[in-house]
């Protein structure tokens, strides 16, 4: 009975992630006539701002292999990652026709073009750009980011017609704090008892957070976590690996399934933006500054955010060690400049530490996984043999 309920939750979440029509957002709009949905691109966005205006934030993070790219290819150069094309295609093909505003971030050279391409092509919505500091250790960065957030508040207020008060923002921060806490719990379970929840299950659950009202996701998580812990599963003799490379474009579910057949993925950076803030945000008297401060002071890492206090190899090795992993899979999305560059740094750092790893490239629209299966199985077997 409990297993059935859990299975339903996972299925619902995965279906949501694979449905290019954003059914939960459409449902929300039916229930909230006149409500506004605001989309934001990877990696991180302070969704509390949108939430506090009574609007629904959703994550626009590409499509799966089922999405036919018909029009977007003619708008974007050939050697650009898939997530940018599929996100654009979803809007061009009407899957995102309910958006009132779309926000991108200059996370990489390719994504910086989103603002222009979307603005040129869609005059029915506001296409905004939110800047994060690339120099977060500057004494002036926090003020700059707070000002950026304030500008975003004005843009959201204009779209929604609702004033974002400090009280509303503080209440929204609580909702998202809870969500991040629940996601941290899920990842703790993954690290400590990976046999209780597969990667595909945990990932489905995580990804759904960006696709439905966050209160609903909190309910779902509150139901799912005890059921996961109560599962009657036994540990198996599998290699414990960390998967890195899913900070922006996402690997296909089926690719994760192939990896989990051979390994326990005990930690990863999939949809890291949903877990970007690593501690509860204390709203205090100035919740907007508190949000900006959390970005600068208590956040994760990725190839597209520079912070000299957090060298990425150091952070990555901490993730590997913190999860008690024996090995790592260092992935990168095809044509992703920052991801591919970071791969070299990660690989060298792992070499220096004598940590075995597998380098791989993926694409969200991949459909054949035999090659991946072969590589992962060979890798896992060689490790089992080595550790035996």
């Amino acid at each position: 009975m409990a297993d059935e309920e859990l299975g339903d939750i996972f299925e619902e979440c995965r279906a949501l992630a694979e449905d290019h029509d954003f059914p939960a957002a459409r449902r929300w709009l039916e229930e909230n006539p006149g409500g506004k949905v605001i989309g934001h691109f990877q990696v991180y966005f302070p969704e509390e701002i949108i939430h506090a205006a009574g609007a629904l934030p959703i994550k626009v993070s590409g499509g799966s292999s089922g999405l036919q790219i018909r029009s977007a290819d003619a708008r974007i150069a050939a050697f650009v990652c898939s997530i940018l094309r599929s996100s654009l295609e979803m809007k061009m093909a009407g899957h995102l026709d309910f958006l009132s505003m779309f926000v991108t971030h200059p996370i990489c050279d390719a994504a910086r073009h989103c603002g222009g391409v979307w603005a040129r092509n869609f005059d029915d919505i506001s296409s905004q750009i939110l800047y994060y500091p690339h120099n977060p250790t500057s004494a002036y960065a926090l003020q700059y980011l707070t000002d950026e957030y304030r500008r975003m508040v004005s843009a959201v207020e204009e779209i929604t017609g609702t004033k974002v008060t400090d009280e509303a923002l503080a209440a929204s921060i609580e909702v998202f704090n809870e969500n991040r806490r629940l996601l941290r719990d899920l990842y703790r379970i993954k690290r400590e008892t990976p046999w209780l929840v597969t990667t595909v299950e945990a990932y489905s659950l995580t990804r759904a957070a960006g696709l439905m009202p966050r209160e609903d996701h909190n309910d779902l998580m509150r139901r799912a976590l005890p059921l996961i812990v109560a599962r009657d599963a036994k540990p198996q003799d599998r290699v414990r690996v960390v998967f890195e490379g899913g900070f922006c474009e996402q690997p296909a579910f089926d690719m994760l399934a192939v990896i989990q057949d051979a390994c326990y993925i005990v930690d990863d950076d999939l949809m890291i933006g949903l877990r970007w803030i690593t501690e509860d945000v204390v709203a205090g008297d100035d919740p907007l500054t508190a949000l900006a401060k959390a970005y600068v002071e208590s956040s994760s890492y990725s190839p597209v955010q520079r912070d000299e206090r957090k060298p990425k190899e150091t952070m990555f090795l901490e993730r590997v060690r913190g999860a008690n992993a024996e090995a790592a899979i260092v992935g990168a999305a095809k044509m992703c400049e920052p991801g591919l560059e970071e791969q070299v740094g990660y690989s060298r750092a792992l070499d220096d530490e004598g940590i075995p790893h597998l380098i791989m490239e993926f694409e969200e629209k991949m459909t054949g996984f035999e090659q991946v299966r072969m590589e992962v199985e060979t890798f896992a077997e060689s490790l089992l043999f080595e550790f035996a």
Binding site: D109, N135, S138
Partner: protein
Amino acid sequence: MTENQPSMAGATRTQSRQLMDGWWKDLTDADAAGRPVANVFVMGSIAEILRVFDLPMSFPEVAALQTAVRGRSMDFLLAAEDYGYSPDICGYVKVDAGLHITGRNHPQGKLPKPAIVVATNMCNTYIKWAEIWERMYECPVFVLDLPGWRGSGFEYGLDGATFESDRRYVEGQLRELITVCEEVTGLEFDIDKLREIMLEVNRMSGLYQEIIALNENRPAPFNAVTEGINYMGIANAFRGSPEGNLFMETALAELRERVALGQGAIAEEKFRLMLVGTACYSNFRDFNRLFEQWGGSFVASEYMSYAGGGIDRGIQYDVSRPLESLAEQILVTAQPSMSGIFHSHDWLAQQFERFSVDGICFHGVKSCRTTSTGLPDTREWLFKNMDIPGLFIQSDLVDSRLWAEAQLKNRVDAFFESLESRRALAGR
């Protein structure tokens, strides 16, 4: 000078060669003597501050380009790929990484180790690139973070509050950069020296604008791609120096003479073109030949704008308040250069009119998502909304494996044929 005989012919080229040789000699000598060198990038070098500290500036993009023009880039690309870098990342990064991995022996001199890196976010890859040196040499990396345009209309002009916030952020960072430079060089910051350098930049910016403006003439006196790259290179490497301005004066004089003599960049200018994106430097001659054989003259190039980090936009520093003014001018000139790459349609439409352009060549290069990602969309928008004809082709900056001549020639030929038909129709 006898009538119709050019007296300046070749003067610019000679001077540019001397300057570049001198630049390489400085870098080589600095490396040999163990003197600190700054690695910087063409878009936003902040030469103004680095020159105060007498830091020789090494421009890895220029160095990478030079290997390609000399037919050597593949050696370094392959070395970097052997090391683990993907075939799908920026070729400039790989040429440079290859150079560092193989002992820093550039065909023109010794590529020094950086003592400090200053990277702006005008290209995000600069930051990833800087992190490669950070790992190799454990040198300080200073990212000067420049805010870009906001809003969805992309008309330039920030509202007062945003401008003030940006100005505060940039000025604050400049002050922090000064502290890092003091630490690296052991020298104290000299604000009067900064003033002198800023005055040189004001002058250079004016001269550079005059050079660009000369191509409004028909025929256009210089090729904005092949010669433009030279002007740009010197504007970067010698920004803020009297030698740089002497060069610009020479170039201007030579070009004025060409205009007076009615001498164009190519023998017979039939079509006036603009290049958006960069050229292919590994096949530079071939690239230009594709256009020149149709009488196509590149009278304008977007590269001459953004690669100078704002120098083409008329920098006017107020030296009575140097740091404040430096921050403001960065926002007024470098910011539109950066954001203009991503939202270029309005600016391109203006340039099209200004230089009486017949058609735009959009050249997407695999190496550079910064300049290439949105080109097909921009081309489409300009054609649909402004009836501006555009050609979209793709190859690379430095990787000759991506040069598919027959395919490119077909596209280019078809484009010129369409320009001819347009002209015929218009003449009817």
